[in-house]
């Protein structure tokens, strides 16, 4: 755990924050498990053996690109096309890693190298909210979110799906497919603690939709993720007396909003 310098009074205790993290994880676990089963089924339908399906979920560990790859393999595309598209689809992880980097820079490089492999949409969202709630980086919280919340459910469900998932209901029928976008929206709202964050989020949504319609939804997400924060930076600070990140030392402890009382999803 990287302790904060000047952790703020009123910040939740570590135990309370982890309890909240576990609560936040419940829906993510259900979503990862539901779609892990669907991936297993999709892989089998496209000719994957159980070992191949599990290799995808363990080594690639990126749902969207796994579904795309399974479909492309089934449709007879060659490996180069699959690999190039995978690189493009997964390039959004650059943003996640860059945003988490300042929080995790005190961890040993070996640990950061392992942390990188389990960095996904869900683990990024859960851990960033958790860190900001606390005011410091909690390495156990990161592992809990990434491994317990996503990696294990996704991989166990892949095995279930590829070996016999036809007995499990379609996630769409029980509404589980809505969990992922709803969790992303809910966690975005939790992170929108000031005008700059709100403007960045709203601008990103607009940019994502416009670029998504004009080019491709995945390109829209990337464009929104890159340009939304630029729009947020253009917003002047509301109260010059309250220091913002510009004025704070480049330290993860000071990396989130100064007033933690309304930060994120704090209990």
């Amino acid at each position: 755990m990287t302790l904060a310098q000047g952790a703020e009074p009123g910040a939740p205790t570590l135990r309370a924050a982890r309890r909240r993290l576990l609560f936040d994880m419940l829906g993510i676990v259900a979503s990862a498990a539901g779609f892990g089963v669907v991936f297993g089924l999709t892989a089998r339908a496209n000719g994957f053996s159980p070992i191949e399906a599990v290799a995808f979920s363990v080594m690639v560990f990126a749902g969207a690109s796994q579904f795309i790859a399974a479909g492309m393999i089934g449709a007879g595309f060659g490996w180069p096309a699959v690999v190039v598209l995978t690189g493009l689809v997964n390039s959004r992880h650059l943003l996640y890693a860059a945003a988490l980097g300042p929080w995790l820079r005190d961890r040993p490089r070996g640990e950061r190298a392992l942390m990188a492999h389990v960095l996904t949409d869900e683990s990024f969202a859960l851990s960033l909210v958790h860190f900001r709630r606390l005011g410091f980086a909690d390495r156990r919280g990161y592992w809990l979110a990434a491994i317990g919340g996503v990696f294990i459910p996704w991989n166990v469900a892949t095995v279930v799906g590829v070996l016999g998932g036809q007995v499990i209901p379609d996630p769409r029928v029980v509404g589980l497919d809505i969990v992922f976008p709803a969790a992303m929206a809910g966690l975005a709202v939790g992170l929108a603690t000031g005008r700059r964050e709100v403007v960045a989020g709203v601008a990103a949504v607009g940019i994502a939709l416009v670029v998504g319609l004009a080019v491709d939804p995945r390109a829209g997400v990337l464009a929104g993720g890159f340009l939304g924060p630029v729009a947020g930076l253009l917003v002047p600070r509301r109260d010059p007396a309250v220091p913002e990140a510009d004025e704070l030392p480049a330290d993860p402890a000071s990396f989130s909003v100064p007033n933690r009382s309304d930060d994120g999803l704090a209990p």
């Binding site: 829906g27 490996w79 992880h93 860059a98 509404g175 939790g190 994502a208 939709l209 939304g228």
Partner: protein
């Protein structure tokens, strides 16, 4: 048992891992100027909002061209976001979103 696609998984790992690891491991990312840190602080709400919006408001039709669509998925996600803003409770928001989507589909509205 066929294991030929394990090689493809390795190649996919090889193109995915750098985007996950470089910003976490490269020394240049360890001492960023405050302005860059402020930018990165805004990445979270931006990229998560963009993902949610593109998932529920854009659909790809048979022709492969994305179209704008407001359906029950968007309503369910909006309900979740509103509940999180109001109650600060993600689990409650997710629960309501799932119930809204499942009930609407069961009634033929999805």
């Amino acid at each position: 048992m066929n294991v030929g696609l394990v090689g493809l998984a390795l190649l996919m790992f090889a193109v995915t891992y750098p985007s996950r690891a470089i910003p976490l491991l490269a020394p240049a990312f360890e001492r960023l100027p405050p302005r860059a840190l402020e930018y990165l602080r805004l990445v979270g709400p931006a990229v998560l909002g963009a993902i949610a919006a593109s998932q529920v408001l854009l659909t790809t039709g048979a022709g492969g061209h994305p179209t704008f669509h407001v359906g029950i998925d968007a309503v369910a996600v909006l309900a979740c976001a509103a509940l999180v803003a109001w109650r600060r409770n993600l689990f409650l928001g997710l629960l309501v979103a799932v119930v809204v989507a499942a009930v609407a589909r069961a009634l033929g509205a999805g």
